[in-house]
Symmetry: C2
Subunit: 111 residues, 2 copies
Amino acid sequence: MNEEFINKWKSQVKKGTLSFIVLNVLKGNEYYGYELIENIKQKTAIEIAEGTIYPLMNRLKKEKLVDSKWVEQETGIPRKYYVLTEIGEETLKSMQKYWDELEGLIKKIKK
Amino acid sequence: MNEEFINKWKSQVKKGTLSFIVLNVLKGNEYYGYELIENIKQKTAIEIAEGTIYPLMNRLKKEKLVDSKWVEQETGIPRKYYVLTEIGEETLKSMQKYWDELEGLIKKIKK
DNA sequence: CATAGTACATTGTTATACTATGTATTTTAT
DNA sequence: ATAAAATACATAGTATAACAATGTACTATG
C-alpha cells in the first residue's frame, strides 16, 4: 500500500520522540551509547541507528541535559556513560507534561 | 529555563503528529486550509502556521491521501476544500495503530 | 480609509533522523 | 588460525518538514 509514506511518517514521529525516550530511559540510570540503543530496542522495539544516537547525545550534552564520563574497561573499548543533569530532569518534566497533553488531544479528535 | 530547547522539541514532535492530526480531523468532514488551522487550534490549542498547512496539504494530495476541490463563494476568495480519499483512510488506520503502540511504549518506559 | 481578518501560496531557513562510512577491539564460528 | 559478527565510538552528507517571512487579494469594521 502506502508503505513508503507510512515509513517516512514513522521516521518523522521518531524525530520528536527520540530525545524524550532517551531522557526517560536515562532517568535514574546510567547508560553508554551502544547500551542505550540495545536497551531501547529491547524495551520498545524501536531501532535507533548509531548515526542517530551519538549526535543526539552530543546535542543533549551541549544543551546540558546530560553529562558524560569515560569509563575504562578491563578489556575492550572504553565506554562513555551518560547521566541526567538537574536541567535534564526539569526539561524531562516539561516534555512529559506536553506529551500527556498531546496524547489527550489526539484521543479527543479521534472520536 | 530551557525554554528554547523545549520549543524546538515541541516543533519536532509536531512534525510527525501534524499530518496525523489533520487526517484525523478530515475523517468524515470536509475542510478548507484556513478552516483547518482554526478548527485544530480551537479543538487542540495547537497553532499551525499557514506556511505549514498549505505545503502539508499539497504533500498529502500528491500522495493521494486527500483530494481537493475549489468551491466558489458568493463573496470573497474561493475555498479549496479537502476530503480524505480511500487511501487516506487506510493510511490513517496504519498511523493510528502505530500511534497507539508508541503511546503504550512510552507509558512503559516512563515507569 | 486604515486595520484586522479571511484565504490562498511560495521561498528560504533550521533542525534532526538516517545512510554510509570509518576506526578499533573482542567474541564467535568455521 | 582466521573470517565474520558484535561491541563501541564518531562524522559527513542527505532528506524531510515545520516555520518565519513575504506576497496577493478580498471583506468587514471601527
